[in-house]
């Protein structure tokens, strides 16, 4: 096994296990932290794919901004663990009914995800002609200046649309999350 394959397995395993724990973990703070771990694994994979720019973007944007925002909101709302004492008490009193209620979506979700995984694997197993790994192409795709040039020429319009998208998100987030000013504006 070459060192590249080894690294793939390491990063891949980190990503998958961390993602699994994000879902399984009932404490939102740990979930958020595990998501960072998962995205760090992803960044490693991007480096293996000769995409250092994507890797850095992923880390800077997610670990630097978004997950901090997530943590901030979790702390702000003091979001409780799932299965709090209240929940456990409720579980004890109406055990059977509640258990059935909780296991409904769980089963459905598991079933859906498994069906989807099987379908995907079945489809992906048959890929034959989607290109091959060409080490010489690395220079063509990994250069940040090339990405920058394409971004501002071929993708110039999409770039501008993204700016409108971000304005919408910003205005929207402010409208929804700000406190009602004392004495409404007339």
């Amino acid at each position: 096994m070459g060192s590249e394959a080894l690294l793939f397995w390491v990063f891949g395993l980190v990503t998958v296990v961390a993602s699994l724990l994000v879902i399984a973990q009932r404490n939102p703070v740990y979930s958020v932290l595990l998501l960072i771990a998962s995205f760090a694994g992803l960044s490693g994979l991007y480096v293996l794919l000769d995409a250092p720019f994507t890797a850095v973007t992923q880390i800077v944007v997610y670990a630097g901004a978004i997950l901090v925002l997530f943590l901030f909101v979790v702390m702000l709302l003091n979001a409780p663990h799932e299965d709090t004492e209240e929940d456990i008490a409720r579980l004890k009193t109406i055990n059977a009914a509640t258990a059935r209620l909780r296991s409904g979506p769980l089963l459905f979700g598991a079933l859906l995800a498994i069906v989807f995984v099987v379908e995907l694997l079945w489809a992906l197993r048959r890929i034959t002609s989607a290109g091959r790994f060409d080490p010489d192409a690395a220079d063509a795709v990994s250069s940040v200046s090339a990405i920058g040039r394409v971004l501002f020429t071929e993708y110039q319009f999409a770039f501008e649309v993204t700016s409108v998208l971000i304005i919408v998100a910003m205005v929207g987030a402010v409208v929804l999350a700000r406190r009602e000013p004392a004495g409404k504006k007339s």
Binding site: L124, Y155, F157, A158, V161, V164, V168, V171, E180
Partner: protein
Amino acid sequence: MFASFHAIVPMLCVTAAGFAAMVAEAFREKGEPMPIGPLGVVGLIGAAVSTALLWDRHATSFGVVTADNFGLFVTAILIVVGLLSLAISAPTVEREGLPRGEYYALMLFSLAGMMLMATATDLLVIFLALEVLSLAIYVLTGIRRDSQMGAEGAFKYFLLGGFSSAFFLYGIAFVYGLTGSTHLDRVGTLMAAQATSSGPLQILAVGLLLVGFAFKVSAVPFHMWTPDAYEAAPPAVTGFMSTGVKAAAFAAFVRVFLSALEPLIGGWSEIVWVLAAATMILGTVVGVAQTSIKRMLAYSSVAHGGYLLLALVSGNDTAKGAVLFYLLVYAVTNLGAFGIISVLETRDQANDRVTDYAGLWSTHPTLALMMTFFLLSLGGFPPMAGFIAKWYVFAAAIHAGYVWLAIIGVLTSVVSVFFYLRVIVMMYMSAPDADTRTTLPAVPQLAGAAIVISALIILYLGVLPTRVLEWAAASVSGII
């Protein structure tokens, strides 16, 4: 050098109006009256003029936006949607004390996103446009910030939207992997080359895109939370999103599936067949059981999505023209109906139960008459425009050999008439509650005018549809 901007002028006008609304709100003195809604009207008129000038020009901008007649027809529908929505929003914004600048700005940005989605020819740009319009609409759904229902509806709608975005993006990734391009015409040629040996990966790509679109047009079984969002949002917003999102999403749906993915039609037509049948049936059957008019219209909107899917699966040129005409008729009718719901709402009471409409004929005769027009049009009664629209959709389906689907469509239409008639009977035959007489508010002029104009449009389209039908038919040739 400005030639390359031509195709995006309509959406530029609307975006500029959105920014103007934000700036106007920011520089407004406290308590100073500022005509922010009319700013939007100015932008929309600019968009309308540029749309008319672009007609038949086939302008292209940046290689990713094409103002072909198909896209321009949908843009025109969206301009109508925008004008009517602005008019029926005004009283709601006043009454609820909503943040005015932000409300109109978000509505206009969302409209610009819809226009972009209808004219974009690149999957990346379609996705960006979809996100612009969705994000704005999530916010508009929850814009009544003191409303518990509003927050819940916004969250559910957001979740559904994020979910569908993920599927859509995954689908785009596979299309890119298969063809090496996200541009629709290149995707089309390369898919045609691969169509003879279409493997599981093609099916996967198409399936994922289909799921993404099905969420957006709220097809069964992806409709789960649409009625919730429709019920929770202010009625003016519901009118806007139920019509505008449908128009934009179906325009992109037709563009992607009937041009770029047309070579794979054998792979997806059966799935869409099932979706269309399920959507028509479930939308109608569940709609019958509703007691709230808003929810009833939400399910009716689901069912109407089913009729549009029926046209989509037919896939011929008649069907594409029928989709355009249907979208126009549905937009005007639904906005009119939600306009009425919106003016009957008061600060404390939604007044949206079917029983609240008892005796509307004796308290607000004009409104009752208009509501009758809209409901009959939704049910597909002649001589309303809804009848002609359905007629063409079913004709296209039969022409394409989907007789069974057309039969399901006719049957569900007949059943749906039942729940529209229930409201009409309630309005004319029942006596009003003693207290409704006093709680029903006076009708604001602007919204009233918008409602009357909508009613006139559907009467006109119902009696003399030929000219608009010809436009619709003429604008479907050479999509991409």
